[in-house]
C-alpha cells in the first residue's frame, strides 16, 4: 500500500536556506502534512512546521505546495502523480523564521487596526433578535480560519513589502465587511475607512484570494466588490475591472 513520494523541502532560516530533496513513504489516504511529519520523525528531526487540528479547521499548516498557497493537512498525496516531485516551501509573503514556519505577525498587527465590534448602547444581553437570513452574510466571513493563504496569494503584498504598510489584505477586508454587515454593529463608516486607511482601493479584484481560500469564502464577490461599489458610489462595472487585472494600479480607484 505504501508508495514512495519525492519531496523537495525548503530548509533554512531568515538569512539563508535551500531546497533539499528527500524520499519518504506515503500510505493510503495520507495528506502532505502526514508525509512531512514522517520526514520529521525519521530523517529531519528538527524540521520546523506548524500544525494543530489536521482537519482544515485551525489554519496553522499554511505553506506553498508546488508554488500554490495551501493547507498541508487538506492536500492529499494521491492528487500527485507517481514519481512526481512535490516542492514544499514556506509562505512567500511573510518572512521566514525557520524551514516552513514564517512570521505572520503582520496579520495580527492589521487585526489590531480595525475598530472592534460595537453593539447599540442600550442593548441588554439576551435581548438581541436577529433573523437567520440577516446573520448569514456575516457568518460567511466568520468562517475564516485565519490561515492567511489569501494574504499570501494577494499580489499587492506578495512581492511588494512596501505596500504592507497601507494594505490590510483580503483577510481583513472580509473582517471589515463582516462588521459592516453585522446586524448589531453601530459603527457606520467602515467602508470609508476600508478605502481610506486599509487600502481597499489597491485591490484590483484579481480574485486570487478567493481561489485559495480553504473555507470557500467568496472574498471578492461577497465582501470586496460590494464594499467597493458603495464606497465609490458608482456602479461597479466588471468588464472595466477585468480589463485592468494586469495593469499596475497606483492606489485609489
Amino acid at each position: 500500500m505504501a508508495r514512495k513520494i519525492n519531496l523537495r523541502i525548503w530548509r533554512g532560516n531568515s538569512t539563508d536556506g535551500a531546497l533539499q530533496d528527500v524520499t519518504v513513504d506515503a500510505m493510503e489516504g495520507e495528506v502532505i502534512l502526514d508525509v512531512i511529519h514522517r520526514v520529521q520523525a525519521e530523517q529531519m528531526n528538527d524540521l520546523a512546521v506548524r500544525w494543530n487540528c489536521k482537519a482544515g479547521k485551525c489554519g496553522s499548516c499554511s505553506m506553498e505546495i508546488n508554488g500554490k498557497p495551501r493547507l498541508a493537512c487538506m492536500t492529499r498525496v494521491s492528487t500527485f502523480e507517481d514519481g512526481e516531485t512535490v516542492t514544499i516551501t514556506p509562505l512567500r509573503a511573510f518572512p521566514v523564521i525557520k524551514d516552513l514556519v514564517t512570521d505572520v505577525s503582520f496579520n495580527y498587527k492589521k487585526a489590531m487596526q480595525i475598530p472592534a465590534f460595537q453593539p447599540p448602547a442600550d442593548l441588554k444581553p439576551g435581548q438581541a433578535r436577529m433573523q437567520q437570513i440577516d446573520v448569514e452574510r456575516s457568518q460567511e466571513f466568520r468562517k475564516c480560519i485565519e490561515c492567511f493563504l489569501c494574504q499570501d496569494a494577494c499580489h499587492v503584498i506578495r512581492d511588494h513589502e512596501e505596500n504592507k504598510k497601507s494594505f490590510a489584505g483580503p483577510r481583513f477586508f472580509i473582517r471589515i465587511a463582516e462588521l459592516d454587515m453585522h446586524p448589531l454593529d453601530v459603527i457606520r463608516n467602515r467602508k470609508q475607512t476600508a478605502q481610506e486607511e486599509h487600502g481597499l482601493g489597491m485591490c484590483n479584484i484579481t480574485k486570487c484570494c478567493t481561489e485559495v481560500c480553504p473555507e470557500h469564502i467568496k472574498i471578492t464577490d461577497n465582501a470586496i466588490i460590494p464594499m467597493k461599489e458603495r464606497v465609490v458610489d458608482v456602479k461597479y462595472d466588471p468588464l472595466r475591472w477585468l480589463g485592468s487585472v494586469i495593469r499596475k494600479r497606483d492606489g485609489i480607484l
Partner: protein, 628 residues
C-alpha cells in the same frame, strides 16, 4: 552556553489561549490587572477552535421548559453523580449569561424563527440546549474572545498610547515550570518555540488553562498541544490531580483512512438524526440501554424516530445516550465481529436528511469526509469508532474561585481543571465550562493578587528551571523522542484504554516506569531554533506523568463508571461513588489517595426523584437526604 534570558512582570499570567484562558484574561483585565496570555501555538489556534457541536446553556429558546435545574440534573446524571455538585450548579446557573455575553462581543450564533439563539439536541441533554454556529461553534467562541481582547487592547491604546500595556499575548512560547518562592507562586519559566531562548515571568498569580491530554493516546481527536502540560505543571508545583482515571472516549472518531484515524465526527450528526448500525445492518444501540436510563430512552425504532418531531410524547433515541455508553457499545460490537470494514461501525445521516440540509447543518463534517476520506455523507454512511477525546480529571480546585488546592497563587479552569464533569462529560458542557470557570478564574486571581501582593522570583528557583531546559541537549544516550512518544501511545492505548483490567494496568505502570528511565536519555539533534524534537522532549515528560496518574487511579478504582471501565469490576458501586482519587507527585513517582466526594446539600438533593438517586447512592446517603 549563554543565551539571552527574557524577563517580564505581570499581575497574572494565563497559560493557555483556548476558551478558558481567553475568558479568564478578559475578566482579569477588566478587574484592573495586567495580564500575560501565553500559548504554544499562534493566537487563535488553540484546541477550542476545533469544537464543533455547540455550547450548552439552558436559555430555553427552543423548549421553554428548560432551566438551570434541568441542566444541573443532566450534568450530574451524565457524570454518574461523581461531579463536584457545586461546580455543576455554578455551571448550570451561569452558562446562559456567558453565552449572551458573547453575543454582546460580536458572536453570531444560528437563530430560531423568533430571532433568538437557536439550540440543538445533544446526547444526555433533556432539551435542545446547545447554542451553535453550524458545526464550527468553537471557532466562533475563540474568535469572539480573541476579538474581545483586541477590543480591550484598542481601549488601552486610546488611553495610554500602548495597546499592550495591560494585556499582551505571548504566542509560541512553552511554559516548562511554575516557579514558587516562600511557598507561593512567584512566576513561570519557559522557552520561545521560535528561537529556543528562555524567558521567565514574575507573577504572583498563574491561571492554568492548558486544555487536555489526548496526545498520550494513539487514537485521539486532540492536536499536538494536548500533552497534559498543565496537569503535569500543577503536579510538579505541589498541586493535586483528581479523577484522572476518567477519560472520555468519544464514540465517533473517523477510522479510515489511517491518517485521519481518531479525527472527530461531531455528535451533532446523531443529534440531527444520524443512526448507528453494525455490519448486519442492525441498529444496535437499542441493546445497550442501561437500567438507570430506561425511562428516558426509547427501546424501539418507531418511538425513537418519532422523537425527532415530537419530544414531549416520546423517549429519545438511544444513539443519544451519554458518550461513555455509546463508546462501550461500539467497542463491544466491533469485538463481537459485527464491525465495519475498517474496524468501526456505521453512522448514517444520509437516509434521514436531504442532501442540502446535511450540507447546511454539518458543513465541516461533509467537507472533512469528502476531502479526507472520499466519502459523500449525503449519500453514504460514515465509518466511525471510539477516539480519546477529553479528560474529566484535572487539577483539584475550589469551585467558586478555581484556586488550586495546596498551591497558593495557582488557579485552573477549563479542561485542565477537575471535578465539574464527574466521571463523564456531556457534549457541549465543555465550551460552557470554559466560559463559566474561565471568568471565575479571572475573578479568583484578581482577588488573590489584590490581597497577596508581589512575590518576586528568586535566583534559586530560576537556576533550577534553567538547568532542566538544557538537559535534552547535554544528555547522551541516544533515545529518540518521537520513538518514545510512539511507544507511550501504544502502551496507553492498549493497557489504559476504554476497557481496563488489573493485570493490564499493573503492566502499564511497570512500562511507564521503564519509559521514565529512558526519557532521561533523550538527546535531540539540531539547534534551539524552532526544533520540534526539543519541544517534544518536554511534552513527553508531561505525558508520562499524566499516563502514570491515569493508570494508578484506574488501578485503584475497583468499579466501572463513566470514562473508567474495569472488565474485572464491571458494575458501578455506590461505595466508590463517595470517593475521589487524588494524585500527587513527590518528584520521583505519583501516589494516589482516596478522599471523600463532597455531598449535595438538601436544596440540590431535592431536585431529583429519589428513585433515581437510589440507583447511585447508598442507603445511608438516601436516608440523610443531603449534607445540611
Amino acid at each position: 552556553m549563554s543565551r539571552s534570558l527574557g524577563r517580564y512582570a505581570y499581575d497574572v499570567v494565563v497559560i493557555g489561549a483556548g476558551g478558558a484562558g481567553l475568558r479568564a484574561a478578559v475578566e482579569a483585565r477588566e478587574a484592573g490587572l495586567s495580564v500575560a496570555i501565553i500559548c504554544k501555538s499562534l493566537f487563535g489556534k488553540a484546541h477550542t477552535v476545533m469544537a464543533e457541536g455547540g455550547v450548552s446553556a439552558s436559555m430555553g429558546n427552543v423548549n421553554s421548559d428548560d432551566n438551570w435545574m434541568v441542566h444541573f440534573r443532566d450534568t450530574m446524571r451524565g457524570g454518574k453523580f461523581l461531579n463536584h455538585y457545586r461546580m455543576a450548579e455554578l455551571h448550570a446557573k451561569e452558562a446562559p449569561d456567558r453565552v449572551w455575553e458573547l453575543e454582546m462581543w460580536g458572536a453570531l450564533f444560528d437563530r430560531t424563527k423568533e430571532g433568538k439563539i437557536s439550540q440543538r439536541n445533544f446526547g444526555g441533554h433533556e432539551y435542545p440546549r446547545l447554542a451553535h454556529v453550524g458545526d464550527r461553534t468553537g471557532l466562533e467562541l475563540i474568535r469572539t474572545m480573541q476579538q474581545r481582547i483586541v477590543a480591550l487592547q484598542q481601549n488601552d491604546e486610546k488611553e495610554t498610547g500602548d495597546p499592550e500595556k495591560f494585556i499582551k499575548v505571548f504566542a509560541e512560547l512553552t511554559i516548562t515550570e511554575i516557579l514558587k518562592d516562600n511557598g507561593k507562586v512567584s512566576g513561570v519559566y519557559g522557552y520561545w518555540r521560535e528561537s529556543g531562548d528562555e524567558v521567565f515571568f514574575d507573577s504572583p498569580a498563574v491561571i492554568l488553562a492548558t486544555g487536555g491530554i489526548g496526545k498520550t493516546f494513539k487514537i485521539t481527536s486532540n492536536s499536538w498541544e494536548g500533552t497534559g502540560d498543565g496537569h503535569a505543571l500543577a503536579l510538579k508545583a505541589g498541586g493535586r490531580l483528581k479523577d484522572m482515571e476518567f477519560i472520555q472516549f468519544h464514540p465517533t472518531g473517523m477510522v479510515w483512512p489511517p491518517s485521519v484515524r481518531g479525527l472527530l465526527v461531531t455528535e451533532s450528526v446523531r443529534g440531527d438524526g444520524g443512526v448507528l448500525t453494525n455490519s448486519n445492518g442492525e441498529r444496535f444501540m437499542f441493546n445497550y440501554i442501561p437500567d438507570v436510563f430506561k425511562d428516558k430512552y426509547a427501546d424501539n425504532e418507531a418511538e425513537a424516530d418519532r422523537w425527532y418531531t415530537d419530544q414531549t410524547n416520546n423517549r429519545r433515541p438511544p444513539e443519544l445516550l451519554p458518550r461513555d455508553e455509546v463508546a462501550r457499545a461500539i467497542n463491544t460490537e466491533v469485538k463481537a465481529g459485527r464491525g465495519s470494514e475498517h474496524g468501526g461501525v456505521y453512522l448514517d445521516v444520509s437516509k434521514r436528511l436531504p442532501a442540502e440540509v446535511i450540507k447546511k447543518k454539518l458543513p465541516s463534517m461533509w467537507h472533512q469526509f469528502y476531502e479526507l476520506a472520499g466519502v459523500d455523507i449525503t449519500k453514504e454512511a460514515m465509518e466511525v469508532g471510539p477516539t480519546c477525546h477529553y479528560v474529566m480529571g484535572g487539577v483539584d480546585v475550589d469551585p467558586d474561585s478555581t484556586a488550586a488546592v495546596g498551591v497558593p497563587g495557582l488557579f485552573a479552569a477549563g479542561e485542565v481543571a477537575g471535578g465539574m464533569h464527574g466521571s463523564n462529560r456531556l457534549g457541549g458542557n465543555s465550551l460552557s465550562d470554559l466560559l463559566v470557570f474561565g471568568r471565575r478564574a479571572g475573578i479568583g486571581a484578581a482577588n488573590y493578587v489584590k490581597s497577596a501582593g508581589a512575590n518576586p522570583v528568586s535566583d534559586t528557583s530560576l537556576k533550577a528551571a534553567q538547568e532542566k531546559i538544557e538537559k535534552p541537549f547535554t544528555q547522551t544516550g541516544g533515545e529518540n523522542p518521537y520513538a518514545l512518544h510512539h511507544e507511550l501511545q501504544e502502551l496507553t492505548q492498549s493497557l489504559v484504554g476504554i476497557i481496563r483490567t488489573k493485570k493490564e494496568l499493573e503492566e502499564a505502570l511497570i512500562k511507564i516506569a521503564e519509559l521514565r528511565v529512558r526519557i532521561g536519555k533523550v538527546s535531540v539533534s539540531g539547534g534551539r531554533e524552532f526544533n520540534p524534537g526539543f519541544h517534544l522532549s518536554f511534552d513527553l515528560d508531561n505525558m508520562l506523568l499524566v499516563a502514570e496518574s491515569t493508570a494508578l487511579a484506574g488501578l485503584t478504582r475497583e468499579e466501572s463508571r463513566g470514562g473508567h471501565t474495569r472488565d474485572d469490576f464491571p458494575v458501578m458501586s455506590s461505595q466508590w461513588r463517595q470517593v475521589n482519587l487524588i494524585c500527587t507527585f513527590d518528584g520521583k513517582k505519583v501516589s494516589v489517595e482516596k478522599t471523600p466526594l463532597p455531598s449535595m446539600p438538601k436544596e440540590l438533593f431535592e431536585l431529583f426523584d429519589p428513585h433515581e438517586l437510589e440507583k447511585y447512592m447508598t442507603a445511608a446517603e438516601m436516608s440523610k437526604g443531603g449534607s445540611n
